[in-house]
């Protein structure tokens, strides 16, 4: 094992002798990147706390809102990281993100709930299945230019969604085992989120009993008047943060390597990569398979907690949300992807809903206007009317943000940074082995 896993920085330079795990994780990205992510998240927490306090939320409500913000920030960060490998690094224009997410989640449901595989095995196989589909869809990418690949992937995602929602495949059986997709309402049974396994005796039941750890964990929150579901959400949020860390670690290592260098070369000019002796086909397939696998896993972490297993969760909209988040963060940057995911998930996706909730709470809408005429009968009805439609206005907000961004900062928040694709610091010539 080499002492240098990534460009050394101030945090690692002091490491002596054996490197601790912490140092290694620290070495993956410069400490300043992790600080940047942390500061972004804390700033967003501050905004939500402020709004929450102004809106008169109680302690439980405040924790609950932070837990939700973290959830959306994290799940978006996960998928954005995965897309960054395909689009940001290799320039593979995959607009079938929703399709790969759906395959991951549905495979998981069928394997664990319907076939009865153990949960972790089911997850692993589901991830493998998604990556196989990724590799399969990448095959046309070997010959197609970016825009045509976009058509192929979009079509793929829509085919996946139609098949999953179709009545024809709602009930299927393989050797007596039901492997049907359940049509428009999704398959039967409950696919629990992974954290339920930590807290409950039988996570598959609808009203599970807490196990010993669950009892202990929930009792920790009693003094703060935080209910069990919020407490569970907080644990889930922490769980997701760990996964964002793992994705980040994996993708930074993937990007900062000769492998990542070839991916970037494919993005910049594939003919050159070929002319220099790189078999770009293999690299494209690998990037697609890995990115898709991570999308599948992200979907499992996302929709087992919120949204459930239904085809309507995987409309193309979600793909475009992911793209917008990546563009905000800066395509090609892993740190930017995380920040883009956080900013999008928390502010643009969750923010409007939250604002709507607290304003409505505050005004308690004596007059709840149903039409735009009622809305103009006074200040309060007008505000309530507007905020009632905030979640619908989200898409408009999104458009505005995107236009401003493209005009002012087309490279995204962190897209202009040099993230050198190498396992060592290339410019530090003397920086040999340590």
């Amino acid at each position: 094992m080499s002492e240098i896993d990534a460009p050394a920085d101030d945090a690692t330079s002091g490491a002596e002798g054996e490197q601790s795990i912490r140092d290694r994780i620290w070495a993956v990205a410069s400490a300043s990147d992790i600080r940047l992510i942390a500061v972004t998240l804390l700033a967003i927490y501050a905004i939500f706390l402020f709004l929450g306090i102004v809106g008169g939320l109680d302690v439980n409500g405040l924790y609950s809102s932070l837990e939700r913000v973290t959830f959306f920030a994290a799940v978006y960060a996960l998928v954005v990281l995965a897309l960054n490998l395909q689009w940001g690094y290799a320039g593979l224009f995959n607009i079938g993100v929703a399709g790969f997410m759906a395959i991951g989640l549905y495979s998981m449901h069928i394997l664990t709930v319907q076939i009865g595989l153990p949960y972790p095995v089911g997850a692993l196989v589901a991830i493998l299945i998604t990556s196989l589909f990724g590799a399969l869809v990448a095959l046309p990418a070997l010959r197609l230019r970016a825009d045509y690949l976009a058509i192929v992937t979009l079509a793929f995602a829509e085919i996946v969604r139609s098949i999953l929602g179709s009545q024809r495949f709602a009930e299927l059986s393989l050797g007596g085992v039901d492997i049907g997709f359940g049509g428009a309402t999704g398959p039967d049974g409950v696919l629990p989120d992974p954290v339920k396994f930590i807290l409950y005796e039988d996570p598959y039941s609808l009203r599970p009993e807490s196990n010993a750890f669950g009892e202990l964990y929930f009792s920790l929150f009693d003094p703060f008047v935080i209910d069990d579901s919020t407490a569970e959400g907080i644990l889930y949020a922490l769980f997701l943060i760990v996964f964002v860390g793992l994705f980040y670690f994996l993708l930074v290592r993937t990007g900062n390597s000769p492998f990542g260098r070839v991916l970037k070369a494919i993005r910049e000019d594939e003919t050159v990569a070929n002319a220099l002796g790189k078999d770009t086909r293999k690299f494209k397939i690998k990037a697609f398979a890995l990115g898709s696998a991570l999308m599948g896993l992200a979907a499992i972490l996302w929709y087992t907690k919120r949204g459930g297993v239904t085809p309507t969760n995987f409309e193309p909209e979600i793909t475009f949300f992911i793209f917008v988040a990546l563009i905000i963060g800066g395509a090609g940057s892993n740190t930017g992807s995380v920040i883009g995911g956080i900013v999008f998930g928390a502010l643009l996706f969750r923010g409007p809903v939250f604002v709507e909730r607290i304003i409505n709470r505050r005004l308690e809408a004596d007059a709840d206007p149903t039409t735009i005429f009622d809305a103009f009968t006074g200040i309060d009805p007008f505000i309530v009317y507007t905020t009632d439609n905030l979640s619908a206005l989200r898409v408009v907000l999104l458009g505005v943000v995107l236009i401003i961004l493209i005009q002012r900062r087309p490279e995204g928040l962190l897209g202009n940074r040099k993230e050198i694709a190498s396992s060592i610091d290339l410019e530090d010539r003397t920086g040999g082995e340590n």
């Binding site: 094992m1 080499s2 240098i4 896993d5 994996l250 290592r253 993937t254 390597s257 000769p258 492998f259 990542g260 260098r261 070839v262 970037k264 070369a265 993005r267 910049e268 000019d269 003919t271 050159v272 990569a273 070929n274 002319a275 220099l276 002796g277 790189k278 078999d279 770009t280 690299f283 690998k286 890995l290 090609g332 040099k418 050198i420 694709a421 190498s422 396992s423 060592i424 290339l426 410019e427 010539r429 040999g432 082995e433």
Partner: protein, 282 residues
């Protein structure tokens, strides 16, 4: 540098080819009856030539003579409609560009194709063949990455030396897209050398390069020639071709017009006519 065979002396030309067919080591690159048409346009119309190892061969001809297409056909960027290319004793016709490059035959492009949103160092570090870290697992899995980093440290030194050789080491950390036209040409050359080639095809390496830089580039080419590298270069600057290339191959209308020493080319009537736009009697 023994080849001085020209079309004027068909017999010698034929003789030398038979010899090289029997001793594949003699010619590093043999092109036989190469053909390519785009719709109704015949871009390359049965081109034959041979390149001796350790030479700097010039490939000249008026615009549209088929020089760049010939390069594309040799390096697999485009597929030939007919004919054969033999490199170092192996037929490489129809092989993929990366396979040809990995055999030691690499090229640069007429318009420099730098990887603009990668730094100069990243550009150069991309080139070395068969890097351990090009395997996804080795790059990611703990325990393997150490080996990747070690190899990268070695290549880094090589990369810096190459950049120094081409005098662009002061730009190492810059994005390649920020380089001037001439610097991009140098970068392309540096990148090509990092692939550890035997033979290099240079497509107009001096276009847009200022005279100082041009001298430097030509010096580099001769320096590398003395180390045993073989060059084939397309160039429009006649002074450069006449002073630095031997032999010179002249193409016209998709065919080889002649091949010979610069002196012979300079005095050839047909070459003059081709360049002045007159009709050529075949």
């Amino acid at each position: 540098m023994t080849t001085t065979a020209t079309d004027e002396d068909v017999a010698t030309d034929e003789d030398s080819r038979t010899v090289t067919d029997e001793n594949p080591d003699e010619a590093i690159l043999q092109v036989t009856n190469l053909q390519k048409r785009f719709g109704g346009v015949v871009a390359v119309d049965g081109v034959d030539f041979e390149i001796e190892p350790g030479t700097v061969t010039g490939l000249i001809g008026p615009n549209g003579a088929g020089k760049s297409t010939t390069f594309d056909l040799i390096t697999g960027v485009q597929n030939a409609d007919g004919g054969q290319v033999v490199f170092d004793g192996t037929a490489i016709t129809g092989r993929r560009p990366e396979q040809i490059a990995n055999r030691g035959l690499v090229r640069t492009f007429q318009i420099a194709r730098e990887l603009s949103e990668m730094t100069v160092l990243e550009n150069v570090m991309l080139a070395p063949p068969h890097q351990l870290g090009e395997s996804l697992w080795r790059s990611v899995l703990p325990g393997f990455r150490g080996g990747v980093s070690d190899q990268e440290a070695e290549l880094r030194e090589e990369a810096w030396e190459t950049l120094e050789f081409f005098a662009i080491d002061h730009l190492a950390g810059e994005y390649a897209g920020n380089l001037s036209g001439g610097q991009r040409k140098l970068l392309e050359m540096a990148r090509v050398f990092m692939t550890d080639p035997d033979m290099i095809l240079l497509d107009e390496p001096l276009a847009g390069v200022n005279p100082t830089l041009e001298e430097r580039l030509l010096d580099r080419i001769h320096e590398l020639q003395s180390q045993g590298y073989t060059f084939l270069l397309v160039e429009h600057d006649m002074d450069v071709v006449m002073n630095h290339c031997d032999p010179v191959i002249v193409m016209h209308q998709g065919k080889r017009l002649m091949q010979g020493a610069p002196e012979a080319v300079r005095q050839d009537e047909r070459v003059l006519e081709a360049y002045l736009g007159g009709e050529v009697e075949q």
